[in-house]
């Protein structure tokens, strides 16, 4: 995240301004900056539009989770001057209508098939920012699998029977590719569906380095 976003009042404009007075907070005028009464929380209450969404990759969704609210309360003393976490998005900013945002996103639901599993799942690639996140999500989804990273190859494995899966995807041109070769954004744009293929079948897509772990090949 670019450093510019962390500075509400960049240094170049500081001279002569009483920054503390004009610092953005959530409190009422005249309140001291840090007052956290047990009952009425003055100055620390998060306004409706200060709600910060922690859902990675998804913007403009209000975080309804009470737990996450509380955590942020403690964090956000003095409110808006705290820097936002990497993927946190402010509600309603930038001012782009949801329908416009959603349309750009809705194309990115893709089917995920796992060899041997009876049904497919769908994931929204827009929800993730990296391959690691995607694989974690797949790991959650197909709970029998775990990620094994070795030799900088990302593989999913079923620890129960040691079967390894290779993540592959079909791109726009209809070709089957190995997940991970191209930059993430490019992958999101070109991916049409994902298949977790058994390593034993992934002959043409075998990793360059020899496998170190034994598996049912």
């Amino acid at each position: 995240m670019s450093p510019e976003n962390r500075n509400y009042f960049p240094e170049s404009v500081v001279v002569g301004l009483n920054l503390k007075e004009t610092e953005l907070t959530l409190g009422l005028p005249g309140d001291t900056r840090v007052t956290m009464d047990t009952g009425v929380k003055l100055g620390t209450k998060r306004g409706f539009s200060e709600t910060i969404d922690l859902n990675l990759g998804r913007s403009n969704v209000k975080c309804d989770d009470k737990v996450c609210d509380d955590e942020l309360e403690n964090d956000v003393l003095g409110g808006a001057t705290k820097s936002l976490t990497a993927n946190a998005q402010l509600v309603g900013w930038p001012p782009v209508r949801a329908s416009r945002k959603n349309v750009m996103k809705s194309c990115k639901f893709i089917k995920v098939a796992v060899d041997g599993a009876p049904y497919l799942r769908k994931v929204d690639l827009e929800m993730y920012n990296s391959y690691q996140q995607l694989l974690s999500a797949l790991e959650d989804m197909f709970s029998c699998l775990t990620i094994r990273n070795y030799m900088s190859e990302k593989k999913l494995m079923d620890p129960a029977n040691g079967v390894e899966y290779v993540a592959t995807y079909e791109d726009r041109d209809g070709d089957w590719m190995l997940v991970g070769d191209v930059p993430w954004k490019m992958f999101v744009e070109s991916c049409k569906r994902v298949r977790l293929m058994k390593s034993s079948e992934a002959i043409g897509l075998a990793p360059r380095t020899p496998q170190k772990c034994s598996s049912t090949t």
Binding site: M1, S2, E4, N5, N7, Y8, F9, P10, S12, V13, L17, T22, L24, L26, G27, L28, P29, V40, L42, G43, K45, R46, G47, F48, S49, E50, T51, S59, N60, K62, D64, K66, D69, A80, Q89, L90, V91, G92, W93, P94, P95, V96, R97, A98, S99, R100, K101, V103, M104, C107
Partner: protein
């Protein structure tokens, strides 16, 4: 429209015999000998100026601009009455500013109604979804008052399927329904409209949220006979439609000029429609890609010739899931296009160039920033007649890459000198480019620049963006709408207050240093009608500085600023005709404890002038600070009143208010001090107060 309809539309005075109207009665006779659609209730005793009024009617009916009509209605009672009789298009800018009953009582011959509801910031999830703006009370009132109603235009209203059903039932002459940014209804409601509105000419759904009730609404249009359909816009509908039914409908609609398909219509299906409707002037192409499961083949239809056959096409949009290979199909129509909307098409500069190169006549251009500065340069080079440009971000986040910048803006300003309206999303901007635009495009009326990173300064100089926006308000003498962004100090607002004399709509976010900023604007901009501010350090003192002006405004929105509940109450006390809504984060509000929490911080201040006082449909998270609700002690007391025509006395202490000639009694109270009395201008001279 049939002239034999019994419930005839309002009097058409063009045929009226002036000599006839010299009679003192109100029942005028048209040339055809019909007694007019005059409600017997309207008969009044003859009064002077009858002749004058009839002449006035003949004249005022030609007034179309509502601003002119509003002015005319203020001249005197007579003009007010006659203007009300001749107004056929009713525009309600804020649905809560006046009640349906009051509006329909004043204007008795309305054929077309336009109503706007929620404030714009609600579009960005800043307002809790159940806030209000329901069409329901309106549809009931309109139904009884205007059985001849033909057109309804709604923006940011909540409309239910039930409301749509009533629309279809109450108005047999119903012709046009336009729903912009509305929600609350679904395909079920659309089905009723399609089925029952036999005279439907226009069904336009624009950026509305339409629930999928799994209903084939297209199939509900009458299956046989020619339709009068001229415009069918449903590109925002996020559910599949019955294509075969649509095709049949298009075939039976020779008057169809505007057709905007949703993304569930494939390019193959588009082709079939186009060859059946070459008379189209406005086309939304739907997905503009192959249907799922269909592969590229040799037997693909000749899309190019289909487009070429549409010789009248001037407005092209859609491209919802564009397969860029097909873009070349539209080249044939580009030369005639005045409006091109590619804002859902993820295309790059090269792809854009192939298209824009042909678009010499383009006046309106909406596009995604994926075309980069290079694409904008190409547009600037070709589209010399451009009036409106909107550049939307494909990745609407603060820290995304910014494919467009000041370079694109500069190019546009140099190439498109006739520019009137611009909406530009970017990550980086410079004052120099904005200043250049202010100099190159003197016709600018709408300037909306959104630098997506909050508080971002000029990225070359590090300076605030004050000078850029200052130049815009100073040099663009026709500017009526402004949206600011980037790092802005009070100085920017000083410029706006000083030079923005025509500004009607101002949108502010994450800007300013202190109360002075807002004060500059409220004190300096006499035409300001709509002010929306978020996350800016403006407080009660600044709010107070607008007291002289709030009655002239449609609304003021301030969220996450530095206001206090006391400040808001002060405004409410000072301005009884202002509804002051304070909206809290829903999770925090407990209905029963509302009074105790009155001093808590809140999130949104939304205030607007209204003749009705606080609305009765406010959800629990909305707190009204309006004066009326304060109750005893703040309203008006009169001891004795003698009202000439009523010849009545009232004794004792009663709380009274006069609204439009009606006495509304509040309550009898223990003796209190005499306070001010709210009169309408009209009644003042007829009332005498005795103590």
């Amino acid at each position: 429209m049939s002239k034999d309809d019994d419930r005839s539309p309002p009097l058409d005075l063009r045929g009226a015999d002036i000599a006839e109207s010299s009679s003192k009665t109100r029942n005028c006779v048209t040339g055809s000998g019909h007694v007019t659609g005059m409600n017997p209730m309207e008969f009044q005793a003859p009064y002077p100026d009858q002749v004058l009024e009839n002449v006035l009617e003949n004249v005022l009916q030609f007034l179309t601009s509502r601003r002119d009509r509003n002015a005319a209605s203020l001249v005197c009672k007579s003009w007010c009455r006659v203007e009300a009789l001749t107004r056929s298009e009713l525009f309600i800018g804020n649905c809560y500013s006046v009640s349906p009953k009051r509006a329909t009582a004043r204007f008795s011959r309305v054929r077309a109604v336009a109503i706007k509801g929620r404030p714009r910031f609600a579009d960005f999830n800043l307002m809790p979804p159940e806030w209000g703006a329901h069409f329901k009370p309106w549809v009931a009132a309109l139904g009884s008052a205007y059985p001849w109603l033909e057109k309804v235009y709604l923006k940011r209203m909540s409309v239910t399927d039930e409301d749509l059903k009533h629309l279809a039932e109450y108005f047999p002459s119903f012709k046009e329904l336009v729903l912009v940014c509305c929600d609350g209804f679904g395909t079920r409601g659309l089905a009723v409209i399609a089925k029952k509105c036999r005279q439907l000419r226009v069904l336009d759904l624009i950026e509305s949220e339409v629930a999928d009730s799994d209903m084939d609404w297209i199939g509900e249009f009458p299956e046989s006979g020619i339709t009068c359909l001229e415009s069918l816009i449903f590109d925002c509908v996020e559910s599949p439609i019955n294509f075969e039914a649509l095709e049949r409908l298009v075939v039976r609609s020779p008057s169809l000029k505007k057709l905007r398909l949703n993304r569930f219509v494939s390019i193959g299906q588009l082709y079939r429609l186009m060859v059946r409707a070459p008379q189209l002037t406005h086309l939304g192409t739907g997905s503009f890609s192959l249907a799922e499961g269909v592969a590229h083949g040799d037997q693909e239809p000749d899309y190019e010739s289909a487009f070429a056959a549409c010789k009248s096409l001037v407005c092209l949009s859609g491209f919802r899931e564009i397969a860029t290979d097909y873009l070349s199909a539209i080249y044939a129509v580009c030369a005639n296009l005045t409006s091109l909307n590619l804002s859902y098409a993820n295309i790059n500069a090269e792809q854009l160039k192939t298209v824009i190169f042909h678009c010499h006549k383009l006046q309106t251009f909406w596009v995604l920033d994926t075309i980069c500065d290079e694409g904008l340069q190409a547009a600037a080079a070709t589209c010399k007649d451009l009036r409106e440009l909107r550049v939307f971000p494909i990745d609407a986040r603060e820290d995304s890459e910014g494919p467009v910048s000041e370079v694109g803006l500069q190019a546009i300003s140099e190439g498109c000198r006739k520019l009137q309206s611009i909406l530009y999303f970017c990550q980086h901007m410079t004052n120099a480019a904005v200043i250049a635009m202010s100099n190159n495009c003197p016709d600018l009326e709408v300037f909306r620049l959104c630098i997506m990173g909050r508080h971002r300064p000029d990225h070359l100089t590090g300076q605030p963006m004050d000078e850029g926006f200052g130049a815009i308000v100073k040099n663009c003498k026709k500017l009526t709408r402004l949206a600011v962004s980037g790092l802005l100090t009070d100085q920017a607002f000083s410029y706006i207050g000083r030079y923005g004399k025509l500004v009607r709509t101002l949108s502010v976010a994450f800007a300013g240093n202190s109360d002075r900023g807002l004060k500059y604007v409220l004190e300096g901009c006499p035409r300001l009608q709509k002010l929306e501010i978020r996350d800016s350090p403006f407080g009660d003192e600044a709010l107070r500085s607008g007291l002289h002006h709030y009655y002239n405004m449609r609304f003021l929105w301030m969220s996450s600023c530095s206001l206090s509940p006391q400040g808001c109450r002060e405004i409410a006390r000072a301005l009884p005709r202002l509804v002051v809504e304070v909206i809290k984060d829903e999770a925090e509000v407990n209905r029963g404890e509302c009074e105790e929490h009155i001093d808590d911080a809140f999130d949104i201040l939304y205030m607007y002038r209204s003749l009705e006082g606080p609305r009765d449909d406010a959800p629990h998270f909305v707190q009204e600070h309006s004066k009326q609700k304060q109750g005893i002690g703040l309203s008006n007391i009169v001891l004795l009143i003698i009202y000439p025509s009523m010849k009545r006395w009232r004794f004792g202490l009663e709380e009274l208010e006069v609204q439009n000639g009606e006495f509304t009694k509040f309550s009898s109270m223990p003796p209190v001090e005499k306070q001010e009395l709210a009169f309408t201008r009209e009644k003042k001279k007829n009332l005498v107060c005795l103590f």
